[in-house]
Amino acid sequence: MSKDIAKEKSMIIQKEMISRLFKDLSTAKETGKKVVYTFVPGNISELILSFGMLPVYPEINALQSGMRKKSADFIRDAEKIGHSEDVCTYVKCDVGMMINGNIGPNGEKIPEPDLFLLSYTGCFTFMKWFETLKRLYPDVPVALLHTPYQENHKVTPEMTAYMVKQLKEEVIPKMEKVSGNKYDEEKLKACLRNSSKVEDYIMKIFDTTKNVPSPIDAYFAGVYYIGPINNGFRGSDEAVNYYHELYNEILERVNLGLGPITPEGVMEKERFRLVVEGPPNWTHFREFWKLFYDMGAVIVASSYTKVGGVYDMGFRVNPEKPLESLAEYCMNCYTNLNLEQRVELLSKCITDYKADGFLVNSIKSCNSFSAGQLMIMQQLERQLEIPVGFIESDLVDPRYFSYSNIKNRLESFFQMLDQRKMY
């Protein structure tokens, strides 16, 4: 692998975008901008933007703290005030960050919330999470947007109507009150037009893994690619610009027949193509990634990069039906799909992207992902006769990342894939 990696233009754009957002956040109190705390899965950021407010995503802050090696202390402080060992470590990390002054990844204070927008898609911990934050900020209003689970395998018109009603009667009035602005449907439509373009780009980007070698790693690099759309830029012009640039760069890689970029340069020999289920570990992200690229393993699709929206099955927002689109977007998020739908989606990924194996990274403290993973794995193994593997780690609690155990299992998994290729 070549050691020198030039930063791609899209990486520079993304860095600037994120740093501008955090700058805007750190000056929000002076500029008078209102701040909405909300979650990534089912984030209706277009609506927030249309009101001229700024979004904050507690999961993103937690994973950033994990990557910056700050999560262990934050988790310890949250446990000190009574959060048990079994509580989601994103929650504890976030609480720990808040009780330590709410200093964000750029070293500047993240403003206190003006509104909690609790849209939860498949993860019931989100409710408890905001209940906890509500105790820290008792005067902040909560707008609850209940997303019905796709229990029966589909989104019905009644489900959409139920959500639109909540948007009209609960979410929008609270946003109007907090922001002091009236709901402006034209602004929302403009944002959704951008989202629709971005959704197309995202799908095209993740579809480039159909190439052999795959030009991108759809998990370890994929989490960077989904950064802007999941972190404040859904519906923005900047997002359209970023994804346009990123897509062109990836097409260039395809034309040159290049493999994915890793922290140690371009991966030259693609040996294994994998589909991965479950979030990555953030505290040892680089080590974790290295275990894969050292073996020539590239991830051609991952469920985690779909937490902020699933576009594989054809869903796109429709700017002409703005509230219905927001509702359907929420209901189509990965963790809101029932288990059979997840199997179907992963099965499509394995087939479309010609994967050699399927791997689950089971997260100790994440119920919404972990529940059903074994069933998913066993069904895929049976249906597709594909080799499957299972490893365990955690989101941001470094105590649950056992390097040697994970390495041992991955080595076995890769050798198993190798063996299957030989016969």
């Binding site: 074994l374 794995m377 066993q378 193994e381 006769e385 080799p387 499957v388 593997g389 299972f390 365990e392 649950y400 056992s402 155990n405 041992n408 299992r409 080595e411 076995s412 050798q415 198993m416 063996q419 299957r420 016969y423």
Partner: protein
Amino acid sequence: MKKYFLGIDLGSTTSKAVIVNEKDEIIGRGITNTRANYTVATEIARLEAIYNARFSLLKLKLEDEIQSKPEYKKYIEDVESVFQYLQFKKRLDRLNVQFKDTIATTFENELRDIVAKHVENIVKTIGPIIHDDFLYGNLGSKNQFFRDIVSEHFNKEIGKLDKALFEPLMLVYDKSITSVENELTEFNFKELVFQALEILHDKYQNLEETIAENQSIEFDTEMNLLKGNFKNVHDSIKEHIMFVANMDIHIANMVGTGYGRALLPFPEKCIKSEILCHAFGAHAVFPNTKTVLDIGGQDTKAIQVDSHGLVTSFHMNDRCAAGCGRYLGYIADEFSISLNELGPLALEAKSEVNICSTCTVFAAAEIRELLNVGQKRSDILAGLHRAIVMRAMSLLARSGGVRNEFTFTGGVARNQAVLKYVSELVHKNYGDDIIINIHPDSIFMGALGGAMFARRSHVE
């Protein structure tokens, strides 16, 4: 020249070596529980496998004689047993020297003399007992480690002494045994085997007297056949022994597996995951295997294989090793018995005590509490064995369940009580039709798989 292939399985508790021939037949096995570095462990296991291979080759060479004349079979077994004794004796002598060093550096004045005198007496007592166990019993075939044999007798002798001596004597033992166990002792096969022949010569020469002392020998047909005939057997076998002793056992390729595999100085393609090796070994011995359960020193593996013995999925215990071999070792310590006594004692149970703790440390506390309230040792042990098998069952369920046929491997498969509960629970949960395979060499399955991979990659 014939080619042989070596598989080395460096486990967390024991290191194993297996040598196969060009037909994948096992011709040599070696095992050690040394906690020294993996290089020493590999060498000990490899050398033992080569000695064992020489005896296997001898038996193959004399296959016709062995089948037609039982005294040949008996004589070769005796040679192997005495050969093992001689290795044991060398280590025991070394241990005795180590005892003296330890005593000199640990105690002072009067206590030093007292401890030295008692240790000397113990060694003098247990030496001949173990000698007889090898020569007249069947200790050689029990696959017991040096530590297990010595500690069993050492503990027994200490038990006869004043309680005040328990701690100083155990201290001497604990401080001395590990360093001896961790030493690589090289043996000259030829020298030892001929020494064994001489000892056997004496044994049979004096058999009349021994029989008078030991009634059970009188009814040993093979031994009686040898009584008047041993000189002929000895003479005809001697040249064959000479042949195998001089034979060059050419290891054409080797593969390492197990926890310590990364430390082996083997090229990358000669290092294989233990999952693949265990599955391959188990499948080779039982070709209809679909599910493999391996319980080793510190991990439990549930492996699903296809009809070629290739792994399709696997599951291992994570974060906690309760229920593995080390757990059983810890429990044996709690009961002050050896690991080999655990299973038989559990099988004596009249009922099973429910053990809640899956944590090794908590289980020990629970045991003490149960003993305090008067529960029987055997009943508690039965409950413990059941509890660990329940853990394995959960892992099997996670890996996709038990498919027919089911093969149980690993060091823990030697424990009869574990076997009883595995059979019971597999049949209960997956039906009575499930065929359960267990092989006496189950602990060697990983090394066997490694040796088979070595043969294949050599051919390729």
